[in-house]
Amino acid sequence: MTELDVFVGSTFVMDEEIFQLWVDGHSVETATHILFRRLKDFSPDYSKEVVLSYVLGQYRTYEMLEKLLWTPKKLVTQWAYQMTEQTKQCLIHKYYDLNLPVVREILNKKYSSRSRKDLDEISEKTNVNLKSCRRQFDNLRRIQKCVEELPGNTSDNIKNHFLLSDILANIYAAITFISVNRLEVSKRRLQCVSSQVLFNCAQGLMKHWGAGEMSKDASEKNRMEILEKEADSDIDLDRDFLADVCEIKLITEREKEFRTSVCAKVHKIIPEKPYQEIESSFKIFFKSSVSISSGLHRSREIKSFFVDLTEKIIEPLKQAKWSKKDFLIFIETYDDIGAHIVSRLDSRICETWKRYNKGIMLCLGFMYL
């Protein structure tokens, strides 16, 4: 019976295969079985006992490394595991990698110990090992805890603190954004919206509506104000903006102007038959987009932002048989013409409308299927 079995090398050599199995939450037995089966054909000399001892050792090392992986910066500044830069990056990348179906399930959970306990349901549903679900859950929680309070661009913050790749950092930033603002994404209506679409929307919202962001066409005065606010994070929505946004309902007075101009332009591009549909349901689109804006100063309404978009705009238009292609042409035109129309209004309203419209059109563009 083995009491102690340790192999320590002066250099840490990563076995990507075993690490992946570990990250995926497979048990030592499963991993041993997989490795043994794979190796059996071309190196039959090794007994299962030997393979098991190896896997146990690898798993042990990864468990020791895990503490460092929680704060990847420590992984870089430690002496104990000498490894190449490549290995470090690979370790971090694999450890923080996400499984989208699992993430989709976790998205609307609070990062509490109670929801951590409920992860087994997710595990069952997604057919992903519970350990892997827990790891992803913990990673999300850890990253959120770290960057929530940090000023500036969240994606950059994540990159700096967790040494993640651009792609992964953007995803984590989006998830954190959804989580911090409690955006409802698990409603049945939204089931058909993929995680990737949600991330894209979240990134768009952070970019256009986030507190830390400076809009490009902001006036000089605004710029100063925004500079003062730079200590804010783009993870938080710009409260001032949200308070102002209800003022854009003023444009309802100009619905007719919008309709004629937009429709006239769209008509030139889109063939007659679908155009009829678009023209007849323009009102739904216009009214809904304005009505969504009017509630955004209430956090309850922000929560249901994605639901509202689907319920009030996407679904009715789909019923009206707008195709995605036509829809995209439409919103592009709407944005163009709208900007032209609102420019004749009060400059503040104009800016607000533009900013609002950028966010909402971006989301609609991604979400409309």
Binding site: M1, T2, E3, L4, D5, V6, F7, V8, G9, S10, T11, V13, D15, F42, S43, D45, Y46, S47, E49, V50, V51, S53, Y54, L56, G57, R60, T61, E63, M64, K74, V76, T77, Q78, W79, A80, Y81, Q82, T84, E85, Q86, T87
Partner: protein, 962 residues
């Protein structure tokens, strides 16, 4: 007051959270040296404090500087209760005590007017015995030694220590002054009454500090002895801790004293002139010395250029040092005259310069069983000294019996169980030629009278030998050195007590060689080896009565059992050697471990085929009994033959039995006039005394099965205990892949041969499996050690290093081997497995080169004295660490294996940090011994003690191989 230590604490990082409520720490640092302590300010609420303290200054005398470690303790400030300890850093100042100039060999580095200021600076892991590494601290340490001319007489500052078992590369030996040993005994704090009331942390720390101090003391005393002998360095230095339990702790050190200098382009005669020029000017300024550099020199030494690598050493420095060493060697010469022979003619190195080893007599070993009693007076460690003296005398007389003057590759080991202790000493008896240490020009001069200390004593000794062994007068002392000479016996068959079969050397066909050669050292350079070497191991287990307090009877039983154990080991080893078709074992280590219920002996070495020795005959089986038995015997014989044929093919050895039998005829007629003895009756099969006959009483006996069960490594691996694989050119190694330590403990019965073999074979397979991605690779410097810490537990530790082989050079290597070592059958690239793994291996090595470690530099660690693919530019000092790690929450932190694994990694980490702080990038001759690995699963408790040491060096690209 010859030294000043200055310490500056810069910053800390990644410290643990000590204040749970605020998730922060209020850290400050205590710096202690000797009895003086300084403190930094408290840096509040930060896990990454920045103290940037003033320079704390300590004044100390030499003895303190050498014995005491600098102790840096990081604490968490607590206003209301006692401050909490975060961890400690121990800094051994010894590497700083060697004048910088003699480390680097570059004069300008010591241009500081005061002389020898050197610095150590870097991030050190903060270690706590209860929690392991907890963050890092950045410190700077300077030592200023005052130039004191008489300082060499007072203390041993400046004597350099090397763990390296070969002459450090880039250095030249002027004199080998002899063997040094020293031991210090002390009470072990663990066993003192105070330990019962102290916390574990303070008990561990007290123990750790004491052990470090004892180790410093041993080293200092050895240094003193070295100076007495006229040396300036101790090579092959080995330090061991004997934890005798109740009776205390013994720290032992052995080594070889030498007079070393950096290699340079000066011939001896020029040095003399340089000396005379400079003699009036003691410790002359560098600019003056530079004038001595003469351009003529290079031409003269062109021959030695091949073996010496000039490393931009300024010749001026050399003149400076040799000036000192000349004085010393002068006195050494006197010493040599007074004493005919050093007390113990032992050398602890295992790799020697070409032609240094004239003849190898064989392995000599001595063991004794002692009963430990309480060390009553630690200041007089006479008992232990006397014990070792007995053993050394025995070794010496064994060597003389073999007609040898020296013992090479000398080691000492102990195994302790309760009160009973086995002391073992072993080495390789040999005849050596000290003149071979000198460059060619000097050697010729030497014959005209000007010789160094040991050379003269060697000559004295030769006369002694002449009297004793008449036959040796025919030895080719004055003749040209033959490359096969080390294989020739230094004795006559009639003069030694044990029966030995002699044959005529197959290379020179002049002198006698034994049929089997065993040695603890590496294969001497130039000796022709056929095929490749292979790991060979014999294991024997003997059960004994359980220890019940009767120390005397226990000791007697052990001592009675030892000869049988050794005989059995020897028999097994030879049988395994035969079935491999080989005839010699080098790098052999025989270790006997004692436990409560059993004795385990393990002999590990590197088997190989020496061209000059007679080919080994296949082992024959002899069995008596029923027809059925005979049949089984026949079957087994067949299997043995198959194994032998496979082995030969595997290791690339030609079936030379055939070859030799053919050649033997001519051979006889050609040289019959030269042979002064009848041709030994070597080829008569079935000789009753022949060791290769395996007698079988019961064909089901597992003996043969065990021999056959010894798995060969997979095709893409070579493995050996020596630093270099015999038959494989060092230049074929590409890079150091990794060095490893494997510790395994098994519970249950490992008392039968089958179980024991199974256990070791599985461990070896595990090793190959671990390293499969490095293949094709060489696993060298393999060391096995067995401990029996508990009646039910067996602990096996394996350490070694894996080096990658260059792939491109396979074909080339085959040719190369053909020229030197004869035909080669073994071709790796024909192996399908190998081909399959090729791309993977390539990728791995590629990434290694690309590696740019963002923060810490890459520090290689290897148990070998060199790193493949690199060259040692500088030796930065010898480092020795002793650590204790304990945990009372084993289960919570992942089990005992996790504790041990993380502890070993941490020891690697600390070693690396020290090397980096000294400005090095590798640690060579690294050894790590696990002394105690105790686990009590009921109490959820575990404790480990580790001692590690090695030479910090600076490597640069390129090979060191001569």
């Amino acid at each position: 007051m010859p030294g000043k230590v200055k310490v500056k604490i810069i910053a800390g990082r990644n410290l643990p959270v000590m204040d749970r409520s605020g998730d922060t720490t209020d850290a400050f640092v205590e710096v202690k040296f000797g009895s003086t302590t300084f403190k930094t300010e408290v840096f509040r609420k930060s896990l990454n404090p920045f103290w940037n303290s003033e320079w704390f200054k300590f004044e100390a005398d030499d003895e303190e500087l050498q014995d005491e470690p600098l102790q840096i303790r990081i604490m968490d400030h607590d206003t209301y209760s006692a401050h909490d300890a975060i961890g400690k850093v121990f800094v051994d100042l010894n590497p700083l005590l060697v004048p910088q100039s003699s480390i680097s060999g570059v004069m300008e580095q010591s241009s500081n007017a005061t002389g020898n200021a050197t610095m150590l600076s870097g991030w050190f892991p903060v270690f706590d015995t209860m929690h392991g590494v907890r963050g890092e601290i950045s410190i700077r340490v300077k030592v200023e030694l005052f130039s004191d001319v008489s300082r060499y007489r007072q203390s041993s500052c400046g004597v350099r220590f090397f763990n390296s078992l070969s002459i450090p590369s880039g250095y030249k030996v002027y004199t080998i002054c002899g063997f040094v040993e020293e031991l210090v005994v002390n009470d072990d704090p663990e066993y003192q009454w105070i330990d019962k009331i102290r916390t574990q942390r303070s008990s561990n720390e007290a123990r750790q500090t004491l052990f470090i101090k004892l180790s410093g003391e041993v080293r200092r005393r050895i240094g003193l002895k070295a100076l007495e002998l006229g040396g300036n360095a101790v090579i092959g230095y080995k330090q061991t801790f004997d934890l005798e339990g109740e009776s205390g702790v013994v720290v032992r050190g052995i080594g070889t004293v030498m007079n070393l200098n950096r290699k340079q382009h000066f011939t001896d005669s020029l040095l003399t002139s340089a000396h005379s020029e400079q003699s009036s000017e003691k410790y002359g300024s560098p600019t003056n010395l530079k004038l001595v550099k003469l351009p003529v020199v290079k031409k003269k030494s062109s021959e030695s250029d091949l073996s010496m690598i000039p490393k931009g050493i300024s010749g001026s420095y050399e003149a400076h040092v040799s000036h000192i060493s000349r004085q010393i060697s002068g006195s050494q010469y006197m010493y040599g005259l007074q004493h005919e022979m050093p007390e113990y003619p032992f050398l602890t190195l295992s790799i020697y310069p070409r032609s240094f080893v004239v003849h190898i007599g064989g392995i000599v070993s001595a063991r004794s069983v002692k009963l430990l009693d309480r060390i009553t007076n630690p200041d007089e460690p006479e008992t232990r000294d006397a014990w070792w003296a007995e053993l050394r005398m025995e070794i010496r007389s064994h060597a003389r019996t073999l007609g040898c003057t020296f013992v090479l590759g000398y080691t000492e080991q102990t195994s302790i169980c309760d009160e009973v202790c086995i002391l073992s000493a072993s080495g390789t008896a040999a005849v050596v030629d000290f003149q071979q240490l000198e460059p060619q020009e000097v050697r010729t001069r030497n014959s005209s009278g000007s010789c160094f200390g040991m050379t003269s004593s060697f000559e004295k000794d030769k006369s002694f030998k002449d009297q004793r062994v008449k036959d040796s007068s025919t030895l080719p002392e004055a003749q040209e050195y033959l490359p096969c000479s080390p294989c020739h016996v230094p004795y006559a068959r009639t003069t030694i007590p044990c029966p030995v079969k002699l044959a005529r050397c197959n290379v020179c066909r002049k002198y006698k060689v034994p049929d089997v050669l065993l040695a603890t050292i590496e294969v001497p350079k130039g000796v022709s080896v056929e095929g490749k070497g292979s790991l060979i191991q014999a294991r024997v287990c003997r059960s004994k009565r359980e220890y019940r307090g009767g120390g005397d009877s226990q000791a007697k039983e052990v001592s009675d059992a030892l000869p049988f154990l050794e005989y059995e080991l020897h028999r097994q080893l030879l049988a395994k050697l035969r079935v491999r078709g080989m005839n010699a074992i080098f790098g052999l280590n025989v270790a006997v471990s004692i436990g409560d219920k059993q004795l385990i002996g393990v002999a590990t070495g590197t088997a190989l085929y020496l061209s000059s020795l007679p080919p080994s005959r296949p082992p024959t089986l002899s069995g008596t009994g029923s027809k059925e038995d005979q049949l089984k015997v026949a079957q087994l014989s067949k299997k043995l033959m198959e194994y032998l044929i496979e082995s030969r093919e595997f290791y690339g050895i030609e079936d030379s039995t055939v070859k030799n039998l053919q050649e033997n005829g001519e051979d006889d007629s050609d040289h019959s006039d030269l042979s002064d003895d009848e041709i030994p009756d070597l080829f008569i099969p079935g000789d009753a005394k022949d060791t290769c006959v395996l007698e079988i009483d019961d064909p089901s006996e597992l003996d043969i099965a065990s021999i056959l069960a010894d798995g060969r490594p997979p095709r893409t691996f070579y493995s050996c205990t020596t630093e270099k694989l015999p038959g494989l050119n060092w230049s074929r190694l590409e890079s150091n892949y990794l060095s490893f330590t494997r510790v395994w403990q098994g519970r249950g019965a490992y008392s039968s041969q089958k179980q024991l073999d199974g256990c070791f074979n599985t461990l070896l397979q595990g090793l190959y499996f671990q390293l499969r991605k490095a293949s094709p690779c060489l696993i060298s410097g393999l060391k096995f050690s067995v401990d029996l810490p508990d009646e039910e537990i067996i602990q096996v530790t394996i350490s070694g290093t894996a080096s990658k082989l260059k792939e491109a050079s396979f074909g080339q290597e085959a040719n190369e081997n053909k020229n030197i070592d004869g035909p080669l059958m073994f071709k790796l690239d024909e192996d399908p497995h190998f081909r399959e793994k090729k791309p993977q291996a390539k990728m791995e090595s590629h990434s290694k080169i690309e590696a740019a470690h963002s923060d810490h530099p890459v520090i290689e660690i290897t148990p070998l004295s060199q790193v493949p693919g690199s060259r040692i530019d500088k030796y930065l000092g010898n480092l020795n660490f002793f650590f204790i790690r304990e945990s009372t929450s084993i289960r919570e932190c992942g089990g005992f294996s996790t504790l041990v694994a993380s502890f070993i990694s941490e020891v690697f980490a600390i070693a690396r940090a020290h090397v980096a702080a000294l400005g090095g990038n590798a640690m060579v001759s690294f050894t790590m011994s696990q002394y105690v690995l105790e686990h009590n699963s009921h109490k959820n408790q575990g404790q480990c003690l580790i001692n590690a040491s090695g030479d910090a060096v600076f490597l640069s690209d390129g090979s060191n191989e001569e």
